[in-house]
């Protein structure tokens, strides 16, 4: 039996944008066990809910993560709106959907770039990020911020998008979709990429379900689970079918995200076409009293906000469960059996967002 050695992976590693530490138990070059540890960037943001008034906490929620920022604020606002029984105007729901899908686009393109980088495919990394820049430009032109949008508020949205701009976005989607298709073509059909990803870090459907995997990690293993199906914001009106792959390996996880890019483009297009007229917010009076579990689908999976208000301006408790936290058990399951050189690819395949995880 070969000797076992432990190689520390992270918290500082060239492929990791954020710090997570994994102790890899190796037999020769093969991983036999992975022991993760987190807690390098805990900031205590949940506790801030007692210090910031409930409308102000939107800004804190948005800064939990720099990539799924809009959906964090959306999930928080939906929770408060349910507690206070506020009906959000239709136009606000549609605008929220557009910005959510644009966040998803920018997150997925960012991930595709990082994933290509983890394989050592620098050119593809730059190509993905060049495409992502177009998404960020639209976000900046419609919200005023590239990654921190700051447009969601309790009771609606803070900013409207004019018809002219909506038409411009709609026109731009066509060439953007074409470029995304070209990009996806490289990821899915290039021989080197395919050889690197096929059969790597396999997670079966039963394992994904048992370990509580969410988002593209679960959907790549064939678990049909996407919170957008429940129809929050305007997803109910637009109709939505989750993207499923069944292989459960890194290639499938990449394919799910690529197909979700096209699904998002399609959702944005239909949201613009069916955009209703009307107000974008309602006046909010009073303070939240009660509790609610608010859920939304982030690019990485389902985020859950537990909010409890006691009738004062500050909430008494907020608990945020983010998708990466529930995907770490799946990651630990994927790693045994892979070569040490493939570990960065497998770790990145769950799209780890450590800022979210540790809040």
């Amino acid at each position: 039996m070969p000797e076992r050695i432990i190689v520390p992976f992270g918290p500082q590693h060239p492929v990791l944008p954020e710090p997570i530490h994994i102790d890899l138990v190796l037999e020769d070059e093969k991983v036999v066990e992975a022991i993760p540890s987190i807690g390098y960037i805990h900031r205590g943001l949940e506790q801030l809910v007692q210090k910031r008034e409930y409308p102000e906490f939107v800004y804190v929620a948005e800064r939990i993560c720099g990539i799924c920022s809009f959906i964090h604020s959306l999930c928080y606002c939906q929770g408060i709106e349910k507690i206070m029984e506020i009906e959000v105007p239709d136009r606000a729901r549609y605008l929220r959907t557009i910005w959510s899908e644009y966040s998803r686009l920018h997150s997925h393109l960012l991930w595709l770039g990082l994933f290509a980088d983890s394989m050592g495919f620098e050119n593809l990394f730059m190509r993905s990020w060049r495409l992502r820049e177009k998404v960020l430009d639209v976000l900046e032109d419609t919200t005023g911020g590239r990654v921190i949008q700051g447009t969601c508020k309790v009771g609606g949205v803070r900013r409207d998008i004019g018809q002219e701009k909506l038409d411009e976005i709609h026109r731009g989607l066509e060439s953007f979709e074409e470029e995304c298709r070209d990009l996806g073509h490289v990821f899915l059909n290039d021989t080197t990429v395919k050889n690197r990803l096929r059969g790597l870090g396999v997670l079966s459907k039963a394992e994904a379900y048992d370990l509580g995997a969410v988002g593209p990690t679960a959907r790549a293993s064939g678990v049909e689970m996407d919170h957008r199906e429940t129809g929050y914001a305007a997803y109910g009106d637009l109709g939505f079918k989750p993207v499923i792959e069944t292989a459960g390996d890194c290639y499938a996880r990449c394919a799910v995200r690529l197909r979700e890019v096209h699904a998002s483009i399609d959702l944005v297009r239909r949201a613009i076409e069916e955009m209703p007229e009307g107000p974008i917010d309602v006046k909010v009076r009073g303070t939240p009293e009660g509790e609610y579990f608010s859920r939304a689908e982030q690019p990485r999976g389902e985020v859950v906000y537990y909010l409890r208000g006691d009738g004062t301006k500050n909430l008494s408790r907020a608990r945020i469960r983010t998708p990466t936290l529930t995907n770490i058990p799946s990651l630990v399951k994927m790693l045994p059996g892979v070569q040490l050189a493939d570990v960065p690819v497998v770790v990145l395949s769950i799209d780890p967002c450590i800022s979210c995880t540790e809040r």
Partner: protein
């Protein structure tokens, strides 16, 4: 054919220019509503204090007695709540990002707004308000 997927990109890269710009030599891209930084006009501020109350990060400090308005640029998150709340148009959002600095920047302004004198009251008519 799997191995020529990148040919199109390679050809385009050879003919096209770089996708990035040489910041800071070339200014960063900004849109018409980009939230860059907040600008204060001390001539119109009436010290109502809405901006400092609305600020989620506590970056704005208003001293009503000494007539000073302060903004801590390191705390300001450029959310625009103060600009939306200001009823006297004393605050505006500029599109340029605040330049990078190495020290904490707290800008302090002396409020120069002078309350216009009220028009002289009309002399009371005789008998008015006697039975009130």
């Amino acid at each position: 054919m799997g191995i020529f997927q990148m040919t199109k990109t390679v050809l385009r890269n050879l003919s096209g220019g770089p996708a990035t710009r040489r910041y800071p030599a070339v200014a960063a891209r900004k849109g018409p509503i980009t939230r860059g930084h907040v600008v204060f006009n001390p001539a119109t501020c009436r010290s109502c204090g809405i901006c400092s109350r609305r600020c989620p990060s506590g970056a704005i400090n208003l001293d009503k007695e000494a007539n000073f308005w302060e903004i801590d640029r390191m705390r300001c998150i450029a959310c625009g709540e103060c600009v939306e709340g200001c009823q006297f148009d004393s605050l505006t959002m500029e599109q340029e990002y605040f330049p990078p600095v190495v020290d904490r920047v707290v800008e302090r302004y002396h409020i120069t707004y002078v309350k216009p004198e009220k028009p002289a009251k009309k002399p009371k008519e005789e008998g008015a308000g006697e039975n009130a």
